[in-house]
């Protein structure tokens, strides 16, 4: 089955009515989101609104209780996490999860799939250079600063040259310099034709860097649009601050 009406190439991610329940709690409720190709998009919402759960569904870490999702028109529900990764969807985590007892370089080499070891190593070194971590390549990841670990996790997600990048709170706990590096790299990836979906609480980052924003509340999509539209949206304001 292919996504109905999906003009091939228009939407890179087409999420249709996905639902996930944990016991009595519906974390993601009948959620439909279409992410256009080649974009930096934001996914926001109050705590517990289902953003991370949605990422876990998209990467196959959780199985959905209903709904479908298509990547480049291909159905993705039911694929295992590594299959999804191999198709070209990559992610980072809200709480950084680098492999602490491996060096920065090993962190990247461990996750790669194709190509000879020499080529993989070259790519890993290029990516470390991309985020200014090259001189720390032989340092254990657990010894890097929080921000450096975040950058390492970011390039680890890039090892497979993915088309879609899901970033879970990339700005949290990162100092300004490293954050600017990160945002600059995200712009470069956008320039290379990639699509980036960012979960973020730092509204400055979201409003200044995202071209389109999706807002979740209680697992439902309550708004989508340009940053300035979202800032004026009554429902969004209510979700964040309650009734006036």
């Amino acid at each position: 089955m292919r996504a109905e009406g999906a003009v091939a190439g228009e939407f890179i991610l087409d999420i249709q009515a996905m639902t996930k329940r944990f016991g009595g709690v519906t974390a993601v409720n009948n959620c439909s989101i279409r992410v256009p190709r080649n974009i930096v998009a934001g996914l926001i919402g109050p705590n517990g609104s289902g953003k991370t759960t949605l990422f876990n569904l998209l990467t196959g870490l959780l199985r959905s209780d209903g709904g479908d999702y298509f990547y480049k028109g291909e159905p993705m529900v039911g694929l295992t996490p590594h299959e999804i990764f191999n198709r070209g969807i990559s992610r980072t985590f809200q709480i950084i999860r680098v492999f602490r007892e491996m060096t920065a370089l090993e962190n990247l080499v461990a996750v790669s799939r194709d190509g000879d070891l020499g080529g993989v190593r070259r790519r890993a070194l290029e990516l470390l250079d991309f985020v200014t971590l090259l001189r720390l390549k032989d340092e254990y990841a657990g010894n890097l600063s929080y921000g450096q670990q975040k950058l390492l996790e970011f390039v680890r997600a890039l090892m497979s040259d993915p088309e879609v990048l899901l970033l879970d709170e990339p700005a949290a706990g990162v100092n300004r310099t490293l954050l600017n590096t990160l945002l600059d790299r995200i712009r470069q990836l956008r320039g290379q034709g990639k699509s980036i979906l960012i979960v973020e609480h730092d509204m400055k980052v979201v409003m200044n860097h995202c071209e389109k924003i999706f807002v979740l509340d209680y697992g439902e999509l309550i708004a989508e649009g340009l940053p300035e539209e979202i800032q004026r949206n009554e429902q969004v304001i209510e979700a964040y601050f309650g009734h006036k």
Binding site: P81, H82, N86, F99, E101, M102, A110, V111, R156
Partner: protein
């Protein structure tokens, strides 16, 4: 909220701790007294060195066995109770190969010619290890894979059941008599030290296998994926690692390591279908000693236990019985005093 722990519980803990610390102290004291007595009658340094060397040879073997157990635990968080039985199967495979498949005229080659003896073990490992690797993968695929990620007790009970099945199958096929392979006896004499040929061959193979495991984990891409999975399976998954396949290989490797230990035991000691229990207990003690999931810890713990056992059995009167006690005592003592092990284990999630 939890209720306040009554005082007598602490009293019991304290009593256990004192018992745990007291036993090795008592052993050490008796060992010291015995050693003093021995030392007066012998040239003590030479003897001490001899016991130390024998202990290291024995410990190398322990390390290989424990490494398999710690690998499976580290990557899959499964306590493989059947590990000792995998070892026993390895020993019996060697037995069948040497005693049944090899023409009798060739037996003398293994007892008279050192080169042939080494070659024989090498060839046999080349046949046995791939078979046990496949066997381990089969166990993982058919028995353990369906319950991975479920309650921790389930795989424990499954491997326990498997160990009973293996023991009783081997008893019904080979009987519960002790068997032995006629192998090279005699010793390599280095200075004042006399090192038995089987032990020397065993430690050489252990060293090669240990080095191979370290190299594999450190440098190969599959090894890196294994370590990544051990550190965080969920992350490894979304980073493109086929975790299910890693589990399959890991169980295969762990089983092959146990079987390596079995083959090495078969050339130096008699064995029966029930020997697994002794070795799994030692392996548990070793990985608690070194740190759960820590390969270097398994190596250090194995050699340490070998040396401790050597000293106990040599210097303490009734030592060979007390030797068995060393592993138990260390296990309890370490859990009470330093539960993370000497070199630190993997973090509990």
């Amino acid at each position: 909220m939890a209720e306040r722990t009554p005082g007598w519980v602490y009293a019991v803990y304290l009593a256990l701790a004192l018992a745990g610390a007291g036993l090795p102290l008592a052993l050490a004291w008796e060992g010291f007294v015995g050693w003093l007595a021995q030392a007066r009658s012998m040239t003590s340094l030479a003897v001490t060195l001899q016991v130390l060397a024998s202990g290291i040879l024995q410990g190398g073997l322990y390390a290989v066995i424990a490494m398999g157990l710690t690998m499976i635990f580290g990557v899959m968080r499964i306590i493989n109770v059947a590990h000792g039985e995998f070892l026993m199967v390895g020993a019996y495979m060697a037995f069948v190969f040497f005693m049944m498949l090899l023409p009798e005229e060739l037996h003398s080659l293994f007892t008279s010619n050192l080169g042939m003896a080494i070659l024989g073990v090498g060839v046999f490992l080349l046949i046995c290890l791939p078979l046990m690797f496949l066997f381990g993968m089969g166990v993982q695929r058919l028995l353990l894979n369906p319950v991975v990620g479920g309650p921790e007790l389930t795989p424990l009970l499954i491997t326990f059941g498997l160990s009973l099945i293996l023991i009783n199958t081997f008893i019904s096929v080979f009987s519960s008599d002790f068997r032995a392979i006629p192998y090279m006896s005699g010793a390599l004499v280095v200075g004042n030290l006399a090192l038995g040929y089987p032990q020397v061959i065993s430690v050489a193979v252990s060293a090669a296998v240990t080095g191979g495991v370290f190299g594999f984990l450190k440098f190969s891409r599959l090894g890196k994926a294994v370590r990544a999975t051990a550190q965080n399976a969920d992350v490894a998954m979304v980073c493109g690692v086929n975790v299910e396949r890693i589990y399959l290989y890991t169980f295969g490797f762990g089983t092959a390591l146990a079987a390596t230990g079995g083959v090495l035991i078969s050339i130096q000691l008699a064995f029966s279908p029930e020997i697994g229990g002794i070795y799994i207990l030692r392996s548990f003690a070793i990985i608690i000693l070194g740190g759960r999931g820590n390969y270097l810890g398994a190596l250090a713990g194995g050699i340490l236990l070998g040396v401790i056992e050597g000293f106990i059995s040599f210097f303490v009167s009734q030592g060979s019985q007390l030797q068995e006690l060393a592993a138990y005592t260390l296990l309890v003592f370490m859990l009470l005093v330093r539960p993370q092990g000497l070199l630190g284990g993997i973090a509990d999630e």
